[in-house]
Symmetry: C2
Subunit: 346 residues, 2 copies
C-alpha cells in the first residue's frame, strides 16, 4: 500500500489539502462535519502527519549526524552506543556515516548531512584529513560540530577528548614502577595526533625517571593489526635481548606481541612486561590477560552528544557558541601481562 498523504485524503474527500490540514489541527474556521469526515478517514487509513514536514516548519530535523572513522572497532562501537543512549533521551535520531579514514569520504559525508538539514554533527577526523575547509563550511552554515577523539586544534568547535599524552605517560610510568627499565614502544603511523601524543607521553615518562631515550627502542607500526604486533615482537627481541617492557599504542598490536612472545618462550611478565592501550574486550581473554589503559568510548559518546545538544540550544537562542573542551579521564587496568606494583611501606 503506498503512503497515505495529506493530498490523498483531500482527493478522496473532494476538498483541498489546506482544508484537510486545518481540519486535522482543529482550526475553528472549518466546519465540524468536515472535521469529522477528515478525522475518520485519517484514522481508517492510518494516516500519520509527516514529521519531516513538521521539522521543516520550525527548522529543526531532530536528527544529528555521527561520522565515525571505522565501525568495526570496539572503541567506536562503544562510542556509537553512548551517543545513541544520550541522543534518545533528548528525542534525537542519529544518521551514522563511516569515513574509512578517507578525507574524500569525510568531505562528502559532511555535505550529505548538511543537505539533510541535520541539527548538528559529531565528527572524529579521518587519519588522512589535513585540510579543514569542509568543516568550517558546515559551521558557517549554522550547523554546530562537536569533534571527538581525533580532533584538530585548528578548528574552533567544542571537543571531547582524552589526554593521550597523560594516558601514555601513566602507562609507561606503571611499567617503570613495576621494575621495567628498558621499555620498547610500538607506535602508530606518524600522522594522527593520538599516536604522536602517546609517543610523547612515553618519552616524558622516561625523562622523568632519568631513563635515557633510545630511538632504536621505538618501532613504527604500518597498520593497526594483530599481525603487525606479531612481527614487531620478534624484531624487538632480535634488536634488544635485554628489553624488559613493551608499551604498544593499541591493544590489538599488543595482543600480537603476546602471541609471538609465547611462541618464542619469552615469559610475560617475568621476562618482558606488555602494556596495551584501549581496553578492548579481547584484553580479558588473551593469555596472559593484557594490562592496558582504559579508553572510555561509551562515556565519550554520551558526553559528545551532551555538548552538541548544548551547542544546538545555544544557536537556537540566537547566541554564539563558546567552544568547550571536555576531557574524559582514563585509567590503567592492571592485568597479568605486567608485574605487581611494589607495596609502599608506610
Amino acid at each position: 500500500m503506498p503512503k497515505v498523504t495529506l493530498k490523498k485524503l483531500a482527493k478522496i474527500l473532494g476538498i483541498s489539502p489546506a482544508t484537510v490540514s486545518k481540519a486535522l489541527k482543529n482550526y475553528p474556521d472549518i466546519n465540524e462535519n468536515t472535521k469529522k469526515r477528515v478525522l475518520e478517514l485519517a484514522k481508517s487509513l492510518n494516516y500519520q502527519p509527516n514529521s519531516l514536514a513538521q521539522g521543516l516548519r520550525n527548522n529543526e530535523s531532530k536528527i544529528i549526524g555521527l561520522v565515525i572513522p571505522e565501525i568495526v572497532h570496539h572503541f567506536f562501537s562503544n562510542i556509537i552506543s553512548g551517543v545513541i543512549k544520550a541522543a534518545e533521551k533528548k528525542g534525537y535520531l542519529i544518521i551514522i556515516l563511516q569515513s574509512n579514514e578517507s578525507y574524500e569520504q569525510e568531505k562528502s559525508h559532511l555535505k550529505k548531512l548538511m543537505d539533510k538539514n541535520v541539527d548538528g554533527i559529531l565528527l572524529s577526523l579521518s587519519d588522512t584529513t589535513t585540510e579543514y575547509k569542509h568543516i568550517k563550511q558546515v559551521i558557517d552554515r549554522g550547523i554546530p560540530i562537536v569533534m571527538y577523539d581525533k580532533i584538530s586544534k585548528l578548528i574552533s568547535a567544542s571537543k571531547v577528548i582524552i589526554d593521550d599524552q597523560k594516558a601514555a605517560f601513566n602507562a609507561t610510568q606503571y611499567l617503570i614502577d613495576t621494575g621495567c627499565r628498558k621499555i620498547a614502544h610500538i607506535r602508530g603511523d606518524l600522522k594522527p595526533q593520538t599516536t604522536i601524543d602517546r609517543f610523547i607521553g612515553y618519552k616524558k615518562a622516561l625523562a622523568k625517571n632519568n631513563i635515557e631515550f633510545d630511538a632504536s627502542l621505538v618501532y613504527n607500526c604500518k597498520g593497526l593489526t594483530f599481525n603487525e604486533g606479531y612481527k614487531i615482537a620478534k624484531k624487538i627481541i632480535n634488536d634488544h635481548k635485554d628489553v624488559d617492557g613493551v608499551f604498544a599504542f593499541t591493544d590489538l598490536v599488543a595482543t600480537g606481541v603476546l602471541k609471538r612472545f609465547r611462541e618464542l618462550d619469552i615469559h610475560v611478565p617475568n621476562q618482558v612486561s606488555v602494556m596495551g592501550f584501549s581496553d578492548w574486550f579481547l584484553t580479558k581473554i588473551t593469555t596472559p590477560t593484557l594490562s592496558t589503559v582504559h579508553q572510555p568510548g561509551y562515556e565519550m559518546g554520551q558526553e559528545a552528544f551532551e555538548v552538541l545538544y548544548r551547542d544546538i540550544c545555544t544557536l537556537k537562542k540566537g547566541l554564539k557558541i563558546i567552544p568547550e573542551i571536555i576531557e574524559i579521564p582514563t585509567y590503567i587496568v592492571p592485568r597479568n601481562s605486567t608485574k605487581k606494583l611494589p607495596k609502599i611501606s608506610k
Copy 2:
C-alpha cells in the same frame, strides 16, 4: 551564524520566497535581472537548498532506518558496515537505532522512523519481541521492512537470514568427522529462533550419525558471556568425565570454555574439541585458536540493503512487493581447538 533560508534571501532582496525559489530553479517567468540578484546573494551567503524539503516534494527522504539489537557486538558491527557500504552506493543515509533486546524500545523506534518518513527499515527482532502488530503497522503505512538475522515467520516481508540449523548441523558433523562421540552443546536462552535452530541442528547431526541424544549433555546459558562459558565448562567436566567435544552456540561462550579447560589442564583438542559459532575476531587470538562457523555479517548487511532497495523501487512503481527470502551461506573455519579431519583415501 544561523542557517540561510529561502525566506531570508527573499527578505534581504525584498521579493517573495516563491520568486526566490523560481529564480533558483531558472523559471522562465522570472526576470533575468532578478535571477542574477538571487543567485549572487545565494552564492555569497553559501545558501544550499534544503533537501529535506526537496525529499518531501517527491515523497522520498532517501533515508532508511536500521534497527540493531546490540551495537557492541562484532557480528552486528559488521552488519552496520555492510549496510552503510551498500546504502552509500545508492545515495541513501542510515538512521541507526538500538533496541537493547527490548520489545518496548523496538516498538518506539519503529514509530520514530515512521515519523521521520524513512523510505524503508531494516529490522532484526529483539529477543523479547513476541507480538508483531507494530511491524505490520509500518508495512501497512507503505514503508517496506526487510528483516535480517532474527526474523519471524509470522511477518510477510523480505528476509535475509542464515540457515542456523544447517550451520549447526555442519559444526556438529565436523566434530564427529574429527572423531568426537560425546559432544556437549551449550545453547542460549529458550527464546530466540536462532538458538532453537542451532540446537535442532546439533540434534539432527547426532541422529544422522546414530549417536544417541543425551539431554544431560545440553547446557543452558543465561547470558551471552565469556563468564557463562567459563562456569559451564567446569560443570560439563564434572558431569561427564569422558566428554570429547563441546559445541557452543556462540564464540564468546566457547572462549570462556577454552580458558577454563586450560586452567583445569584439559587438553584442547586432544582430550576435548571445542567449536564456536560466529567467527568473531577474537577466535583468532585465543589459545588455542577457536574453530568456528563463519557468520557473514558484512555480506548480510549488504544483502539486506539490496533487498530493501528493490522493495522500495517496487513500491515506487505502484507495484506490490513479493517478499524474498535470501539465505547467506555459512562455512566452517577449522582452527586449533578441533582435531584435523582424517584424510580420505581415494
